[in-house]
Amino acid sequence: MSATIETPRAPQPVRRQRRFNFEKWGWIYMRASGVVLVVLIFGHLFVNLFAGEGVKAIDFAFVGGKLSQPFWQIWDTLLLWLALIHGANGMRTIVNDYASNRLLRVIFKGALIASAVVLLVLGTLVIYTFDPCPAGSPANLLPSFCPAG
């Protein structure tokens, strides 16, 4: 950030304004999601790291236990979507700030969108297709409510 870039006004193609103003909505989104994220993230952190045994308590059984409850399913979905889009949009701003070269911008932003989309799909699938008691797994790894295999 302290880099002395003395000629940043490299000529750039003029962007036409789009009907849908992405910048404005992005800005609003950062704030709206931020407020919600405070609740979601601190709740998440509290339950996972602070309450009870802290990190040590986290294992498949713990996660399985949580993800089998619709409440935590919704919580985690929201967390996933809000945080990932918030983060990706934040990263987009940063790319706009630092990647002066047009090609670089395209590459970085492409990578951002790709990773965000992949992870959103993956994460959502995991939350909703998740089986807390996969067949054939050692019972000691599974949540306590699983029928003993």
Binding site: M1, T4, L45, F60, L80, L141
Partner: protein
């Protein structure tokens, strides 16, 4: 005056095109570091923490996805989080989220509260104090969890 004068009420943003400066501006030796104040440093921290959290989040989604693979795989990875080194990393992450979240709220107040900009410096210090309090609450407990036997 002609239509092309700067005064023509163009509804869209007027074209901005600048000739390349005639001298390619030299970069070295570096200028001094800009001595911004609370506002600038809070932004620097906000940015650094935001990026760190983002990369953690990428990893975190991936590792959590392992629950879909098999309990064994998930536990194997998650157990590595339980080493003291990862524990420290984890602590750092919470520290980062703590600052990012609190300062995010400060930024939101600056944007939407009419007196926000006026009190931004005070709010920065409030953020710092609350942040430290949070850490005082969290870090010892976390250290107990990761270093403590139980």
């Amino acid at each position: 005056m002609p239509e092309k004068s700067a005064g023509a009420l163009a509804a869209s943003r007027p074209e901005k095109k600048y000739p390349l400066p005639k001298i390619s501006a030299p970069r070295a030796p570096r200028g001094t570091l800009y001595r911004g104040r609370e506002g600038m440093w809070s932004w620097v921290l906000h940015r650094i923490t935001g990026v760190s959290i983002f990369f953690f989040l990428l990893v975190h989604i991936l590792d959590t996805s392992l629950v879909r693979v098999s309990p064994g795989a998930y536990n194997a990875v998650i157990n590595s989080y339980k080493t003291p080194i990862m524990g420290l990393g984890e602590t750092a992450l919470v520290v980062a989220i703590g600052f990012h979240a609190l300062n995010g709220l400060r930024v939101i107040l600056i944007d939407f509260w009419s007196l926000g900009a006026k009190h931004q410096r005070l709010m920065f210090w409030i953020v710092i104090v609350v942040w430290v309090l949070l850490l005082v609450g969290f870090v010892p407990r976390q250290f107990m969890h990761i270093f403590g036997g139980a």
